[in-house]
Amino acid sequence: MGPDTMVGSRVKQAIVPAPRVWAAVRRLTTLGWALLLPLAAAVIWQTVASLELLPAMLFPSVGTIAATSFDTLTGYSGAAEWYSGQWYVHALASTKRVLLGFAIGGALGAIAGIAVGMFERMEKIVDPSVQMLRPIPVVAWIPLAVAWFGIGNPPAIFLIALGTFFPTYLNARHGVRYVDPVLVRAAQMLGYTSGWEKFRFVILWSALPNIFTGLRIGLGIAWICVATAEMLAVKSGFGYMLWDSYNFLRIDLIITGMISIALVGFLSDQLMLLVQRAIMAWDK
């Protein structure tokens, strides 16, 4: 048994490449697996398109969509017409709104959630109202938002902030509420006895994973909200691009817009995850 395993491990060591190469290979493998389903979807899409059940205008081929998407990025062929080379303009418009709305909604949600989690009186006053407002879909706020703020950025940012607020609030509240009481006691016996000290030293750190969970869900909802808001309340961004393309029945552009939201949304979530890992180094 002993000698055999020795030989085995020696052989293994000889084959295993340097750690850095190994990490790169692993990352590529992960990427490969992640792309498996999108590729399958593209193949199925193309198969259906080739059957010509619908006119090509309504069900464009993968090639057409790719060419249009490429043109929105580069302005190379003009296939995307008035969106040719305009991808960045709309990406920037949507991202700005998401960032601003997310910052406002996330900050307010975290602060309100922490306050309600910390103080029972606050919970009694604030929580019932929040729970009542929560089931109102963000879309239902659009008429009011446009009536108050007019067409433009303010109603869009308002809706995004609203969408971000609720998940951040709920998770922050939960995180603060369910702090391990033994950790609070440990802090007390170490000298942190005032309410503020307990908060700064234990409760905030304990609740941090939950707050981040809330923010990540909130960021995802922010992208849903931005697309919705842009369809009705503004004249730029991916949501506007979608709706505008529909008015001209440019299905290829609609798909481009949808894929763009998916990619930018995914990217922002990954960035958020990086921030979380940097701050919560103990967790990974």
Binding site: V182, L183, R185, M189, L190, G191, V202, W205, W282
Partner: protein, 264 residues
């Protein structure tokens, strides 16, 4: 300080209300803990030994009676009384070094003095090399070592230990028992150690307070005069252990047979 008494409780009673049900966790409990002694609170689960420890720690207030530390009435947690919990209770977001340095007294020190103190206590518990590790990267026994170092580094005069080794495997547990006796011998801090393990109590304690359940009371205080470190295989050790086993068993019997929770 009065007559070398570090901690005391006088006629302490603690009643918990759960809905409409009253549970008398502790009744007529009087106890003095002397400066520098190693005292074990020994008893079956539900006998109120953890409640008594929490009262000394200041986490709970007595329903009636008085608890004192250094002669002053205990009205909340204080840095003079360090606690080692059953579950290590280290801060998961701080590495070992920062956990040991997390006490308010330690933090108040200048940088050089602080890291010297941390190093000193980590060395004492045998974890000098593990400062950069996070608690989740440590074994259960190592975590409890850090928890002990954390209490000592904050210059607690008393260590209140609530079954700190109960969740550990037998081998780790006996290693830590030996080390705790060594640390106690080195520093002569007052230690109140809660356990339901008779051998553990006899191995470490200067005095053992045997508690009975429902309502929790101190039945008897047994001094253990064997020199430390003790040999658990010696006839003297076994004799004391057997005597305690009989006492605890009879205490447990009276607790089981007594009418539960009917006091007052």
């Amino acid at each position: 300080m009065t007559d070398g008494i570090k901690l005391s409780c006088e006629a302490v009673r603690k009643v918990f209300m759960l809905g409409t049900e009253r549970t008398v966790a502790l009744d007529e409990t009087t106890l003095d803990v002397y400066d520098g002694e190693f005292l074990c609170l020994l008893g079956p689960s539900g006998c109120g030994k953890t409640t008594l420890l929490n009262l000394f720690a200041g986490f709970e207030r007595p329903t009636s009676g008085v608890l004192r530390s250094n002669g002053g009435v205990i009205d909340g947690p204080g840095m003079d009384r360090g606690v080692v919990f059953q579950e290590h209770a280290l801060f998961p977001w701080l590495n070992v070094h920062d956990n040991v340095a997390s006490g308010k007294r330690v933090r108040g020190k200048p940088e050089a003095e602080r890291s010297a103190a941390v190093k000193h206590y980590l060395t004492m518990v045998g974890l000098a090399e593990f400062g950069k590790h996070y608690p989740r990267q440590l074994s259960g026994g190592m975590r409890q070592r850090v928890a002990i170092a954390r209490g000592l580094a904050n210059e607690a005069e008393v260590l209140l230990m609530d079954e700190p080794f109960a969740a550990l495997d037998a081998m780790t547990r006996s290693v830590l028992q030996v080390e705790l006796v060594r640390i106690w011998d080195e520093m002569r801090k007052t230690i109140v150690f809660v356990t339901h393990n008779i051998e553990e109590a006899v191995f470490m304690a200067d005095r053992i307070a045997i508690m009975t359940a429902r309502p929790g009371r101190i039945q008897e205080i047994i001094p253990i005069d064997l020199p430390k470190p003790r040999d658990i295989n010696s006839p003297e050790f076994n004799a004391i252990e057997k005597r305690l086993r009989d006492l605890v068993f009879s205490a447990h019997q009276s607790g089981v047979l007594g009418v539960t929770g009917s006091a007052a």
